[in-house]
């Protein structure tokens, strides 16, 4: 099996590799895995509290070239989108963009999972932050 040019590009020059402060209230972290192959992917987003726009995204993936490319592309795509817009990204969009073969579809699934998990983590932080904020205000 050969990788598409886009996969190779993301693999050789991954965008947005790294991490952000997990404990920050504006940062959502998603850590997901694909049991089929044993890959793990961590994706983090930094969200603007006023606009709900994802301003920063970082990832770190241990897995095959397709998994790395899928998560690299996912960080590119979520940046500049609102949280709700980012939730509309589907794994098949990633499959199409990277021309992933059927055996690598689970890599794109992993990337979608990571986006959802990161957003879910951020939302949870916002909800639990509310009562604390009002307590401080008093």
């Amino acid at each position: 099996m050969s990788y598409s040019d886009k996969v190779i590009d993301h693999y050789n020059n991954p965008r947005n590799v790294g991490s952000m402060d997990k404990s920050s209230a504006d940062v959502g972290t998603g850590l997901v895995g694909a049991p089929e192959c044993g890959d793990v992917m961590k994706l983090q987003i930094k969200v603007n509290r006023e606009t709900n726009v994802i301003e920063e995204a970082r990832f770190k993936t241990f897995g095959c070239g397709s998994a790395i490319a899928s998560s690299s592309l996912a960080t590119e795509w979520v940046k500049g989108k609102t949280v709700e817009e980012a939730l509309t990204i589907k794994n098949m969009d990633i499959v199409k963009e990277l021309s992933l073969p059927p055996v690598k579809i689970h890599c794109s699934v992993l990337a979608e999972d990571a986006i959802r998990a990161a957003i879910g983590d951020w939302k949870k932080k916002q909800e639990s932050a509310k009562p604390v904020a009002s307590a401080v205000a008093q």
């Binding site: 044993g38 793990v40 961590k42 241990f62 992993l110 959802r116």
Partner: protein, 253 residues
């Protein structure tokens, strides 16, 4: 060749789909006629049935090997070289089926995966299915392996990457190597205990199949529960297996 000494084949009732021997007309086993010894056309049976075994997971491996070698001899295409071309073709197909069945059943993990597949579990599809579910309900997808295992996998991978980087730069980091070595021991232990856990699951599964065989009804719920336990275990094992492989690689290079 009127009598077969095959331990399992002869002990089992002949499967329903078995018809009479194309050559001599008497009843045949799935592979060759027990009366006249002629190779039979392959019938579409699963690997357990091919060896005349029930769908149980605790296998008598010695008996399986014995049956395998005896069938290999009887079905070997060279042996049937002088037979009609039809028989030779069957012999070839049966031999290849025999090899696949043997390779799958003798390995504990492959055997378990195969049984789950026969039971309708799509191991390759579970993540996708869960994602589709999460998408349609707007919920966060339930991860198929426990979060703390994912965390552990991620952290160890970070350390391995650091080690590779040090090695690339020609630097020595004995403390890191020692730490990774410790983790490796822990992983080996984990792999061992997963295998023991799997053996326990086999016991439960086999007991259920036996009860069913004895005429006691087994609910679909119980079947699913036993299946799910094994699926969960195989999923966790995939991560551990990859980690052991990666740690070995990183320490060796």
């Amino acid at each position: 060749m009127t009598n077969s000494s095959l331990t399992t084949i002869t002990a089992k009732p002949v499967p329903e789909e078995t018809q009479s021997c194309w050559s001599c007309g008497t009843m045949r086993a799935v592979h060759f006629c027990q009366a006249c010894g002629k190779v039979q056309p392959p019938s579409p049976v699963d690997y357990f049935t091919f060896f005349g075994l029930p769908r149980k997971l605790n296998l008598d491996l010695a008996a399986l090997e014995k049956d395998f070698y005896e069938l290999s001899r009887k079905l070997h295409p060279d042996l049937n070289a002088r037979a009609g071309s039809r028989e030779q073709e069957w012999s070839l197909q049966q031999s290849s089926l025999l090899n696949d069945a043997h390779r799958t059943l003798k390995d504990p993990i492959k055997r378990t995966q195969y049984l789950l597949q026969l039971e309708g579990v799509e191991l390759e599809e579970q993540s996708k299915t869960a994602t589709e579910q999460a998408r349609s309900t707007g919920q966060i997808k339930k991860q198929i392996v426990p979060p703390d295992l994912l965390e552990e996998v991620f952290e160890l991978n970070m350390q391995l990457e650091e080690l590779r980087m040090h090695k690339k730069m020609g630097e020595d980091d004995p403390a890191l190597i020692e730490e990774i070595g410790r983790q490796k021991l822990a992983l080996d232990g984990k792999q061992e205990s997963l295998l023991r856990e799997l053996e326990y699951d086999w016991k439960m599964w086999d007991g259920m199949i036996q009860r069913e065989h004895n005429g006691q009804p087994v609910s679909e719920e119980e079947r699913k529960q036993e299946r799910d336990k094994m699926v969960d275990l195989l999923n966790r094992r995939n991560y551990i297996r990859n980690l052991v492989r990666d740690v070995d690689e990183a320490l060796e290079n």
